[in-house]
């Protein structure tokens, strides 16, 4: 039994070393490694389009009077934006090594829900203040810009 143990250890070491050499050689023979998913043109276009829609929403809020600024006047915006984001999240979840973009889109979805809640908080005849709209637009611009910056960086210098 002891002889078996003595002979199996060198064999185990040889097996480990061979595996390590094989793995190293295979790694070197790979063309490139990727730590982040590749660029997705559809995500780029749809996020850009959604940003336009959200910007338009803030512009409308800024010019709305007390009769037309209520949350109920903007049903279409909130439901369409929610649907677009749902679809973007599903698409990006399906792509490998794409957690960062999925997490960013989830944060954007949360922000949109909070915007809707904030809008609904205003009592009848009270609109979002211009100063509020300015800060909200700035935050959403930052979010969109960050998502797009990462997506464009995934091009990795190709076709920029």
């Amino acid at each position: 039994m002891l002889r078996l143990i003595r002979t199996s250890r060198p064999l185990q070491l040889w097996a480990n070393l061979s595996s390590a050499i094989l793995l190293f050689t295979l790694t070197l023979s790979c063309t490139t490694i990727e730590l982040v998913s590749r660029y997705d043109a559809s995500t780029d276009e749809r996020v850009t389009e959604l940003h336009k829609v959200v910007s338009r929403h803030f512009r409308q809020l800024k010019h709305a009077d007390s009769d037309s600024c209520a949350r109920s006047e903007f049903d279409a915006f909130y439901s369409d934006a929610a649907d677009t984001l749902d679809s973007l999240i599903v698409r990006n979840r399906a792509r490998p090594k794409n957690t960062l973009t999925v997490d960013s889109l989830n944060l954007l979805q949360d922000s949109l829900q909070k915007l809707e809640a904030l809008h609904a908080q205003k009592s009848r005849g009270t609109c979002l203040l211009p100063e509020e709209i300015e800060q909200l637009k700035s935050a959403f611009d930052t979010s969109f810009s960050a998502i797009l910056k990462l997506e464009l960086a995934k091009k990795r210098g190709e076709g920029n």
């Binding site: 490139t32 730590l35 944060l107 509020e132 935050a139 960050a146 998502i147």
Partner: protein
């Protein structure tokens, strides 16, 4: 054997350092600019709350949206960092491939 471990290691390090040195200042500048904007927004929200133009609930919702924007910037910084590391690793791997193939006289890797 033409390959020397010390020269190969030195060449790999030089290749890997390039992307890290080039990219970090841009990533840092981007993050700085965005966090400065977000900080100003948070101060403005606090001011509106203290002026009683916002309720506590409204202020919390505003701050949540600003916090989400901050986190998104951090996620992007993380992603840009990963892409930089990826470029560094690939640059070092290229040095190894080119050196090995050149030493051997044929494309082993």
């Amino acid at each position: 054997m033409k390959l020397k471990a010390s020269s190969l290691a030195k060449d790999m390090l030089a290749a890997a350092k390039g992307p890290l040195q080039d990219d970090w200042p841009q990533i840092r500048d981007y993050a700085s600019a965005e966090f400065r904007k977000l900080a100003l927004s948070i101060v403005m929200i606090e001011r509106l709350y203290l002026q009683e133009k916002l309720t506590k609930t409204e202020a919390k919702l505003h701050l949540r949206i600003q916090k989400n924007a901050s986190q998104t910037v951090l996620l992007t910084v993380q992603g840009l960092g990963l892409l930089t590391v990826e470029r560094s690793i690939n640059a070092a791997l290229k040095v190894v491939r080119d050196s090995v193939n050149s030493a051997l006289g044929f494309a082993l890797l």
